[in-house]
Amino acid sequence: MWRYTAKRLFQGIVTVWFIATATFIAMHLVPGDPLASDKAVSPEIRANLEAKYGLDKSGIEQYFIYLGNLAQGDFGISFVQKNRLVNDIIREHFPVSATLGLLAVVFAGLGGVLWGALTALYRNRLPDVIIMFLVILGISVPSFVVAAISQLGLVNLNTLLGVTLLPVGGWGSVAHMLVPSLVLGLSTMAYLTRLMRSSMLEIVNSDFVRTAKAKGLPPTRIFTKHQLRNAVLPVITVLGPAIAAITTGGFVVELVFAIPGLGRYFVQAVQQLDYTVIMGTTVFYGAFLVFMVIAVDIIYGLVDPRVRLN
C-alpha cells in the first residue's frame, strides 16, 4: 500500500514536470509579444521590462530558471498585475473555485447516483424516459447557455416576486453559490446518471443478486448492500477526474455569475500572454488533476476489496 502510494506519487511528479515543460514550450511558440501594449515604448524601457521578467535570457536559460523557481514553489510576478505574485493569485482565487467546485461535485455525485438508481429501477417506464431525456439535454447543452438561461430565470423570478430570492451573481454567501454550482455540476450529473443507470442494470442481472434473492434477503437489503454499493464503483472512478474538470472548468460560470475564481485568470492569462500566470495556473491545475486521480485510485482500493494496491 505505502509502496504503491510512493510509486504513484513519484509518477505524479514526473507527469507534472512533463506538463510544466510542455506548457513552457507551447507558450513560447505562441506568436505574440507578452510585453506589447497599446503605446509603443522606447527600446530602453523595453530592455528594462525584458530584464525584469527575465525575457532577455535565452530560452534554455529561462527554462532552467523557471524549473528552479518551480521547485521552490515560486511562480513569479504577473505580467498584467505587475505587483501581484502568481502565488497570491492562486492562493486568493483557488479557494473560491474549489468551494464552488466541491459543491458542484457533491451535487453531481449525489444527483447522479440517485437519478441513476431511479432510472434503473423504473427502466423503460415514464420516470426513466423523462430523466434520460433531461440527461441528454444536460450533456449536450453547453454550460454558457445553461448559465445565461438560469441567470435570466433568476432575474425574472426576482422581478416577479418583488424580492431577491436568490442573488443573480456575486460571491459571499451560500445563496451566491447555489445556482452557479448547480449549473457547473449539471453536465457531470447527467453523465454520472447515465453511468449509474447502466451499471445498476448490469448489477441487477448478476449472479450474486439472484443468490441474495434466492436466500430470501429483504428487498431493501438487496438494493442497498448488493446493488447500490456495487453499482456505485464506476461512479467513484470517474469522480476524481470530474472533480478536477469541474474545479478547473468553471471559467464560463465564473464569468456569468461574477465569481472571483481562478478559472478566469486561467483563461484571461492565455489571451493576454501573461507568461507567469499561464505557467502558474497550468502547472497548479495540472498537479491538482494528477494528484486527484491518484487519490481516487487509493480510495478505490479501500472501497473495493477486489482491488489490491500492488
Binding site: 506568436p31 505574440g32 509579444d33 506589447a36 501594449s37 497599446d38 503605446k39 509603443a40 515604448v41 522606447s42 524601457i45 528594462n48 498585475q81 505587475k82 505587483n83 501581484r84 486568493e92 479557494p95 473560491v96 468551494t99 459543491l103 451535487f107 449525489l110 440517485l114 431511479l118 434503473a120 429501477l121 427502466r123 445565461a148 441567470q151 433568476l154 426576482n158 422581478t159 431577491t164 443573480v168 451573481g169 456575486g170 460571491w171 459571499g172 454567501s173 451560500v174 451566491h176 453559490m177 441487477v204 443478486v209 434473492k213 429483504p218 428487498p219 438487496i222 442497498t224 446493488q227 464569468l255 456569468v256 455569475f257 461574477a258 465569481i259 472571483p260 475564481g261 478566469r264 500572454l273
Partner: protein
C-alpha cells in the same frame, strides 16, 4: 435473459422508498455542508451582499466593473479600469470638473510660461492618513515615472520636462529631471520646450503625487492592496477583494470634502460578461451598465433610461508605406479612399447608437482656439466617386508595374465588431475595385506584435486621447513616433507637429492641425472609420454620473442620489 428484479412491483416499491430515504439524507447532508461553506465563504471571498443599486440610507451606489484594476500605481497605470479607480481616489495638481473643464486640484493657482511653470499647492490638501500633500510628493512621483528602472509605459509623459527624455533613457540621473520643490507648497517645473497644454497634461494620472515614505514602507507592494495605497482624492479604498469587489468611501481628509455628495461607492461585481452586468442592472443590483448590441432591444422594452456618448477613441484603417508594400502606391490608396464610405459603415453595418462616422484624425470633441477644433476648422470634403476610383486603380497598376493588384492583407483584432467591419470592407473593395483583401484576425497581443513588426498592408487600428488637445492624435503620424506603424514620412507634416508642440499661440497651433488634417486626407495616410460610441443605462435615482473622453470614466465623483420621485 433472466427475469429482471426491477420488474417485480414489490421490490421496486421498497427500493424506491429506500432511495427516497437516501435522497432525504442527501438533502439534509447538503444543507449541513452549505452551512459549513457559508462559514468558510466569509473567510475566502468577499461579500457581494444584498445591497441594492442605490441605498439612500447609506448614501451608497453599487456598480460593476468589467475587470479587476490591474495597476493602481499611478506612474505605472496604462489601462482604463485602473484609470477609473485612480481618478476617484487620487487628485493631481489640476483636475477636470463635471463639465470637463480644468479646475484647480491640489494646486491652488499656477503660472505656465514658455519654459517653466510654477504651481502653488493648497495648504489643506491631505493624504488619507491626515498628512499634508506636499510638492515633494509630486517630485518623487514624477521621478519615479521617468525612472528607467521602473520601465513605465507612460514615461514619455515626462519627456515634456527638462531632461525628461535623457533621464528616462538612463543617460542622466533622476534628480536632473526638471521638477523641484521650492518649499513644501511650491512646485517648480522646467520644461523641455514650450508646451501650450501643460495645464492639461498635469491633470493626467501619470502626474499624480506619491508620498515617498509611504511608498518605501510597502516594500515593493505599493498599490497591491487597499491598505498599501495612500489616497488624496475624493474617495479612498477601504476594502479590495481581488477579482470580486472594491469599496470606496468618502475621504474625510479631502480638502473639498463638503462637495462630495456620495458617502460610498461599492464595486459589487467584476465580470467581463456584458450580459451578466445587464442582468445585475435589471435585478436592481447596480446603478449603471454599458449596453452591447444584444442588450439594446431589451433595454428599450423595459423602458430603461438609455443614454449615449462617444468615448473619445477613433478607429481607422492605417496603411503600410514601406517600399515593398503595394499600399505604398498613392493611387491605390486614393482609389480605396474614393469608395470608403464611413457613413454607410456606421449607419448600415455597425448600427449602434452613439457611433459617429469618422471624417478626420481629430475627433469632434477636441478643443480649438475658442470652440471645438472641428467646428472652427471643419473636416476635409469626403469624396465618393467610383469612376475616378477605377481610374486611380489603373494608374496604381502602372505605378506598381503589375497587371493585377496582389492580395492585400488586412490585419484586425479578433473582436466581433472588427470582424463584421473587416468583412464589410472586404466586400466593398471586391465589388467596387475588384481588389482581393485577405483578413488577418489576431488576438490583441499578436496584433500589436504584427503592427510593431509592420507585418501588414492595412491595419484596423484605434487610438484614444491621453490629454485634451489635438496633439494627442496629431503627433501619431510624426515620422519619429513609434506608434506610426506604417512608416509614413512627410517633412511638412513633421514641421507642423513641431509647431503644434512648441508654439504658445493657440491660433497658430490650430492652423497647423488644420493643415495636418488636410495632408492626411490628400496623402491618404489613413481612412477614418468611426468615433466609437457607447450606450448605457442608469438608475433613475442616480444623478450626476459624468462620462468623459479624458480621465476617469465613468466618473461618480460628482454623483448624488436623488430622492425617489414616486
Amino acid at each position: 435473459m433472466p427475469e429482471v428484479a426491477t420488474d417485480e412491483p414489490g421490490f421496486a416499491k421498497s427500493a424506491g422508498k429506500q432511495l427516497l430515504t437516501f435522497a432525504a439524507i442527501a438533502v439534509l447532508g447538503l444543507g449541513a455542508l452549505m452551512f459549513v461553506l457559508d462559514a468558510l465563504a466569509s473567510l475566502v471571498g468577499s461579500d457581494s451582499g444584498s445591497s441594492s443599486a442605490i441605498e439612500p440610507e447609506l448614501n451608497m451606489v453599487t456598480i460593476a466593473f468589467e475587470d479587476e484594476p490591474p495597476q493602481l500605481d499611478s506612474t505605472q497605470r496604462a489601462d482604463q479600469i485602473s484609470g477609473r479607480v485612480l481618478g476617484h481616489v487620487m487628485e493631481g495638481l489640476l483636475a477636470y470638473d463635471e463639465h470637463s473643464q480644468l479646475i484647480p486640484g491640489v494646486a491652488e493657482r499656477w503660472e505656465i510660461d514658455a519654459l517653466d511653470a510654477t504651481f502653488w499647492l493648497r495648504k489643506d490638501a491631505r493624504w488619507s492618513d491626515g498628512e499634508p500633500v506636499t510638492a515633494h510628493d509630486f517630485v518623487f512621483a514624477w521621478r519615479k515615472a521617468a525612472d528607467p528602472a521602473e520601465a513605465s509605459e507612460y514615461a514619455f509623459m515626462m519627456h515634456y520636462l527638462k531632461n525628461g527624455e535623457a533621464v528616462s533613457n538612463g543617460d542622466m540621473p533622476l534628480d536632473a529631471l526638471g521638477v523641484q520643490a521650492l518649499d513644501d507648497h511650491t512646485l517648480k517645473v522646467e520644461l523641455a520646450r514650450p508646451t501650450a497644454f501643460f495645464d492639461k497634461l498635469v491633470a493626467f494620472q501619470t502626474f499624480y503625487p506619491i508620498r515617498e515614505d509611504f511608498f518605501r514602507s510597502t516594500n515593493g507592494r505599493y498599490s497591491a492592496d487597499a491598505h498599501e495605497l495612500l489616497y488624496n482624492g475624493r474617495f479612498k479604498i477601504t476594502s479590495w477583494v481581488h477579482g470580486a469587489s472594491m469599496m470606496m468611501v468618502k475621504n474625510e481628509h479631502y480638502w473639498n470634502r463638503d462637495a462630495v455628495k456620495l458617502d460610498a461607492i461599492k464595486v459589487g461585481y467584476i465580470t467581463q460578461d456584458t450580459h451578466a452586468r445587464f442582468n445585475f442592472f435589471k435585478d436592481g443590483k447596480i446603478a449603471y451598465t454599458g449596453l452591447g448590441a444584444e442588450q439594446l432591444s431589451s433595454a428599450m422594452e423595459n423602458n430603461f433610461h438609455i443614454r449615449r456618448f462617444q468615448d473619445g477613441s477613433l478607429f481607422y484603417l492605417e496603411f503600410n508605406h514601406q517600399p515593398h508594400r503595394v499600399t505604398r502606391s498613392w493611387h491605390l490608396r486614393r482609389a480605396m479612399q474614393l469608395v470608403t464610405d464611413s457613413g454607410e459603415l456606421v449607419n448600415r453595418v455597425i448600427k449602434l447608437p452613439g457611433y459617429l462616422a469618422g471624417k478626420s484624425l481629430f475627433p469632434v470633441y477636441l478643443p480649438g482656439v475658442k470652440e471645438t477644433f472641428r467646428r472652427e476648422y471643419g473636416e476635409p470634403l469626403q469624396e465618393l466617386d467610383r469612376v475616378r476610383a477605377l481610374e486611380h486603380l489603373e494608374l496604381a497598376k502602372k505605378e506598381l508595374g503589375v497587371k493585377e493588384i496582389p492580395t492585400i492583407t488586412m490585419l484586425i483584432g479578433d473582436t466581433p465588431i472588427s470582424k463584421t467591419q473587416a468583412e464589410y470592407f472586404q466586400a466593398v473593395y471586391k465589388e467596387t475595385l475588384g481588389l482581393d483583401v485577405k483578413i488577418d484576425a489576431q488576438i490583441f497581443k499578436q496584433r500589436l506584435e504584427k503592427m510593431t513588426n509592420k507585418d501588414f498592408d492595412i491595419v484596423m487600428a484605434g487610438w484614444g486621447p491621453d490629454y485634451n488637445d489635438p496633439l494627442t492624435f496629431g503627433d501619431l503620424f510624426a515620422s519619429w513616433n513609434r506608434n506610426n506603424h506604417g512608416d509614413w514620412k512627410n517633412d511638412e507634416y513633421d514641421a507642423l507637429v513641431d509647431i503644434a508642440q512648441n508654439s504658445m499661440d493657440q491660433t497658430e497651433r490650430m492652423e497647423a492641425f488644420a493643415r495636418m488634417q488636410q495632408i492626411l486626407y490628400d496623402e491618404v495616410v489613413l481612412l477614418p472609420h468611426y468615433e466609437r460610441g457607447q450606450s448605457y443605462v442608469t438608475h433613475p435615482q442616480l444623478k450626476g454620473l459624468v462620462r468623459r473622453v479624458v480621465g476617469a470614466d465613468p466618473d461618480l465623483r460628482y454623483a448624488r442620489i436623488e430622492a425617489d420621485a414616486s
